[in-house]
C-alpha cells in the first residue's frame, strides 16, 4: 500500500506527554529566587553591586555565546544557566572591586570551566566558584579587601562618587579570626543586634551572601517547587554547626554554631551552589555525605587555613568527589535477576 507523504502523520517514541518542567523554567526560577538579595545589596553596599552583577552576567552570556559559536555548538544562552553563573559569580566577590574584574571571572567560569568540559551537564566544578577562585588567585588584594561597610542612609551612589576611595572594612569572619568574638560584638553593639543584622544582611561581605533571610526564602521556594531537596543544604548547615561547635572554641565543644552559619557564605553556598545539579551527587545518601564534606572542609579552612572563609573551596573540593559519590551510591534496583550485570 502506498501512501502519499503528505498524508502521513508524524511519529515519535513514547511517552507522548511530558511534564511541564524544563531546563529554562528551572534556571530562570533560580535566577528569580536570587534577585531579592541583589536588591538588598544595592541598599546595603550601593548601586555599584548592580553594575558588577550586570557586568558579570553580560560577560557570562557573551562568553557562552562566543564559545558555543567557536566550538560549533548550538547557542543556548536563553536557557538561563549562564545567567545563574553570572549572578552567582557576582554574589561571591566583594562589592568594592573594579567593574572589569567580573568580566575576567565570567570568561574563566563559562569558557574554561563549562564549555571546554563539554557544556551544560559536563562540567566537573561549579563554574561561578572556579571564576571566583581564579580571581582570588590573580587579584588577591582586591578579592580579599574590597569590602564596604553597610550604608547607614539611602545614599546608594556614595561609593561611586569620584575621588572617594573605597572605605575598606573587614568581614565578620576576618574579625572573628584575627580579633575574636568580643571585638566583633563590639562593632555591632550587642550580640542580639549582631545576629539580627546578620540574619537580615546588614554586614560587610560579598555582594549576595549577606542576607540569610532572603537566601533562605528563595531556597524554601525552590524546595516547594521540587527543584532542590533539603538533603544538601541541611547537611551543609548541620555539618558546619556541628564541627564549629566541636572545634571552633578555645576548648572542645565550646564553638558558636549559630555564628558560623550566619556570618559568612554558608547560606549562599549551601542553598544555591552546593545544590548545583551537575556538580553534586544525585542520590540522597551521596548528597548528605557531600553536604557533610562541604561543611567539614569549610570549618577546617576557616579554623586552620589562611583564609577567613572556606565555603567556596570546600564546595570545589567536594565537586571533585561527586563522580565517586555517584559511583558508590547508586539507585537500589527493584529486584535484579540473579547474575544480572550491576
Amino acid at each position: 500500500m502506498t501512501v502519499k507523504e503528505a498524508e502521513l502523520w508524524s511519529v515519535a517514541v513514547s511517552p507522548h506527554v511530558k511534564s511541564h518542567e524544563s531546563v529554562e523554567k528551572i534556571m530562570w526560577t533560580v535566577v528569580a529566587c536570587l534577585m531579592p538579595s541583589l536588591i538588598l545589596s544595592i541598599f546595603v553596599f550601593g548601586f555599584q553591586t548592580l553594575i558588577i552583577t550586570a557586568v558579570s552576567v553580560g560577560s557570562c552570556l557573551a562568553t557562552e555565546a562566543i564559545s558555543q559559536k567557536c566550538l560549533r555548538r548550538p547557542v543556548t544562552i536563553k536557557d538561563g544557566s549562564a545567567v545563574i553563573t553570572g549572578v552567582l559569580l557576582a554574589y561571591v566577590i566583594p562589592p568594592g572591586v573594579p567593574y572589569w574584574m567580573p568580566v575576567l571571572g565570567g570568561v574563566i567560569a563559562v569558557f574554561v570551566t563549562k564549555q571546554l568540559m563539554g557544556g551544560i551537564g559536563y562540567n566537573i566544578f561549579n563554574p561561578a566558584l572556579i571564576g571566583r577562585a581564579f580571581l582570588v588567585a590573580t587579584y588577591p588584594v582586591a578579592m580579599t579587601s574590597a569590602w564596604l561597610p553597610p550604608l547607614r542612609d539611602a545614599s546608594i551612589f556614595k561609593y561611586m562618587a569620584p575621588g572617594v576611595d573605597a572605605v575598606s572594612t573587614a568581614t565578620p569572619l576576618y574579625v572573628l579570626k584575627h580579633y575574636g568574638l568580643d571585638t566583633l560584638i563590639e562593632k555591632f553593639g550587642s550580640l542580639s543586634t549582631m545576629y539580627g543584622n546578620f540574619f537580615i544582611g546588614l554586614r560587610p561581605g560579598c555582594i549576595g551572601e549577606t542576607s540569610v533571610l532572603l537566601l533562605m526564602l528563595g531556597g524554601l521556594y525552590l524546595m516547594y517547587k521540587g527543584y532542590i531537596t533539603w538533603h544538601i543544604p541541611v547537611s551543609v548547615f548541620a555539618s558546619v554547626a556541628f564541627f564549629t561547635w566541636i572545634f571552633g572554641g578555645e576548648e572542645f565543644f565550646t564553638g558558636n554554631p549559630l555564628l558560623a552559619i550566619l556570618s559568612g557564605g554558608v547560606p549562599l553556598g549551601a542553598i544555591y551552589m552546593a545544590t548545583d545539579y551537575v556538580t553534586s551527587p544525585n542520590q540522597k545518601t551521596g548528597q548528605i555525605l557531600f553536604g557533610i564534606g562541604v561543611g567539614a572542609l569549610t570549618v577546617l579552612i576557616r579554623l586552620k587555613g589562611g583564609y577567613p572563609e572556606g565555603v567556596a573551596y570546600a564546595i570545589l573540593l567536594m565537586n571533585s568527589l561527586t563522580p565517586a559519590l555517584d559511583g558508590w551510591f547508586k539507585p537500589k534496583r527493584f529486584a535484579p535477576a540473579k547474575g544480572a550485570v550491576k
Binding site: 511519529v11 506527554v17 511534564s19 524544563s22 557544556g119 545539579y277 539507585p331 550485570v341
Partner: protein
C-alpha cells in the same frame, strides 16, 4: 473515613489524567464496517496460518487463523461476509503484516450466544474453551491467556490479581467495562480461580475510579454465594500503578525478580478486559472478535468509548466520530505513556488495542532536547531503580553496548524518566537503542 490506598514504594509520576474527555461516556457500538483487515499476528508468539481462502464465505466467530505450533492464539472472523483477500495490511508496529480482509455481508443476521453453566466443567475443559476463543491479554502485551493460566506445577500460585488500574492517562476502556459489566468481570474472575484451583482474587483499581470500585464491590457482594473470595483494592493514583510488577507489589508486597514471571511469587495477573473476554469465551462460547476501545484526545471531533470489531480500520472509526480536528498533531495507539504512534489511519484495530489517541500540538511536547543536566529526576521517577540518565549519555557517546550495568534489561519502557526529564531527552528511545546493542 478515607480508606487506605495501596501503592508501590519506588518511583512513579503523576501525569495529567485527561480522562474527563471520555470517562462519562457510555460504551456505544460502532456499526459494522464494510471491510475489516484481520491481522494474522495480534499476540505474543508465532503468527497464525490462514485457514480460509479467497472468496470463502465466513460467519462472525468462525476460526480463520491458527498457530501451527508453539506459543500463539487463534484468530476468528469478526464479521460475516466474504474473504476479499489474504495479503498484507498496515501493521501498527511492523509496518505491514499478513492479514485476512473480509467484505461484510450487510444482510447477515448477528450471531447470538446463550449462557452455559461452567461450574460443572473441570479446569482442563475451561482452558480448552479459553484457547479455542483466542483469548490473549488485551490490556497490552497480548500474551496467550490459556498459557498464562497454565502455570507449571512447581509454581505455588495463591492469589489472582485482576488489573483494573488503567493508569495510562486518557484511556477509559477498563473504567467503562467495570462500570457497565461488573457482574461479568466478577464471574470471569471466578472462572479463573476455578481454573487455577485457588480461592483468593484481588481486583486493583486506581482511586480516580471510585465508582468502579463501588460497582465491583457490589457485584462481588451480590455474587458472594460460593467459596471464592473476591476483594476490590483501591490503589493510589500513580503511574505506572498498572504495570504488572508494580501492581503485584502494591497489593501483595511481593517483588517479581528480574526476568521472572508473576507466578514466581505465587501470583497470576489478568486485565479486566481480558477477564470479561474470558467470561464470554467460557460462559457464552463466544470467541474474542470484538472489543471496547477509547477514542479520545483533543484532536477528534467526538471522543467515545466504542465497541468495535477486531480488524476495523481507524479511518472507519474516525469518520463515524465526525473526523479529526485541524490541529491534530499525532495519532497514538494505546496510552500516551507507552503507546505507539501511527502514521496512517489505514491501521486496523487488533485484540490488544486499548484505545486510540488523537493528540494536538498542545497535548504533546515536541520541544527539542538538550544535554543531560544531571538533575537526577529520572532516577527518582524510575520505578525499577535504574539509571536512565547514564544510559542516555552512554548511547550518545557511542557506548550503548556498555549499558547493561545500569539495569537496561529490567526496563519495561514505562516512560517515567522521559516524562520528568526537564531537558526533554528521548530516554526511552536511547534505552531501546541500547537494548539492541547491549548484551545481557
Amino acid at each position: 473515613m478515607q480508606e487506605m490506598l495501596l501503592t508501590f514504594p519506588k518511583g512513579g509520576v503523576h501525569p495529567s489524567e485527561s480522562k474527563s474527555l471520555s470517562e462519562h461516556l457510555a460504551i456505544e457500538t460502532l456499526p459494522i464496517p464494510e471491510e475489516v483487515d484481520i491481522l494474522l499476528q495480534q499476540h505474543f508468539g508465532a503468527p497464525c496460518k490462514p485457514l480460509v481462502d479467497k472468496k470463502a464465505k465466513v460467519r462472525e466467530g468462525d476460526l480463520i487463523g491458527e498457530v501451527a505450533g508453539g506459543l500463539g492464539a487463534s484468530i476468528h472472523a469478526s464479521v460475516t461476509g466474504t474473504v476479499k483477500g489474504i495479503g498484507a495490511s498496515t501493521n501498527p508496529v511492523s509496518i505491514t503484516s499478513a492479514s485476512v480482509t473480509i467484505q461484510t455481508d450487510r444482510d447477515a443476521p448477528p450471531r447470538s450466544y446463550t449462557i452455559e453453566d461452567w461450574r460443572s466443567l473441570p479446569p482442563e475443559e475451561l482452558r480448552k474453551k479459553v484457547k479455542a476463543a483466542g483469548i490473549v491479554g488485551i490490556g497490552g502485551a497480548g500474551f496467550p491467556t490459556h498459557v498464562k493460566l497454565s502455570p507449571p506445577p512447581e509454581a505455588k500460585v495463591d492469589v489472582l490479581i485482576i488489573n483494573g488500574v488503567e493508569c495510562e492517562p486518557y484511556l477509559t476502556t477498563d473504567h467503562r467495562l467495570m462500570l457497565e459489566h461488573p457482574e461479568d468481570i466478577i464471574e470471569g474472575a471466578k472462572i479463573i480461580l476455578a481454573m487455577l484451583g485457588i480461592k483468593e482474587c484481588r481486583i486493583g483499581i486506581e482511586a480516580n475510579k471510585m465508582d468502579a470500585v463501588e460497582a465491583l464491590r457490589k457485584a462481588a457482594a451480590d455474587k458472594a454465594s460460593d467459596s471464592f473470595k473476591v476483594f476490590v483494592d483501591a490503589l493510589k493514583v500513580k503511574y505506572p500503578q498498572g504495570s504488572e510488577k508494580q501492581l503485584i507489589e502494591s497489593i501483595t508486597k511481593r517483588r517479581v525478580p528480574g526476568f521472572g514471571l508473576p507466578f514466581d511469587v505465587g501470583v497470576i495477573v489478568q486485565n479486566v478486559g481480558t477477564t470479561k473476554a474470558l467470561y464470554e469465551a467460557v460462559a457464552l462460547n463466544k470467541p474474542l472478535y470484538e472489543k471496547v476501545i477509547t477514542l479520545t484526545g483533543k484532536g477528534i471531533s467526538r471522543p467515545a468509548n466504542l465497541k468495535v470489531r477486531i480488524g476495523t480500520r481507524l479511518s472507519d472509526i474516525v469518520s463515524y466520530l465526525g473526523g479529526t480536528t485541524a490541529d491534530l498533531a499525532r495519532i497514538v495507539m494505546g496510552g500516551p505513556m507507552m503507546g505507539f504512534p501511527v502514521s496512517t489511519l489505514d491501521v486496523p484495530v487488533t485484540k490488544t488495542t486499548s484505545g486510540v489517541l488523537f493528540l494536538t500540538e498542545e497535548e504533546i511536547d515536541s520541544r527539542a532536547h538538550s544535554q543531560c543536566i544531571r538533575c537526577g529526576w529520572c532516577l527518582d521517577a524510575c520505578p525499577m531503580g535504574l539509571q536512565p540518565n547514564e544510559i542516555g549519555v552512554y548511547v550518545e557517546a557511542g557506548r550503548a553496548q556498555d549499558t547493561a550495568k545500569f539495569g537496561l534489561f529490567e526496563c519495561f519502557e514505562c516512560g517515567c524518566c522521559a516524562f520528568v526529564c526537564p531537558a526533554k531527552r528521548p530516554l526511552v528511545q536511547f534505552i531501546r537503542l541500547a537494548k539492541l546493542k547491549a548484551k545481557r
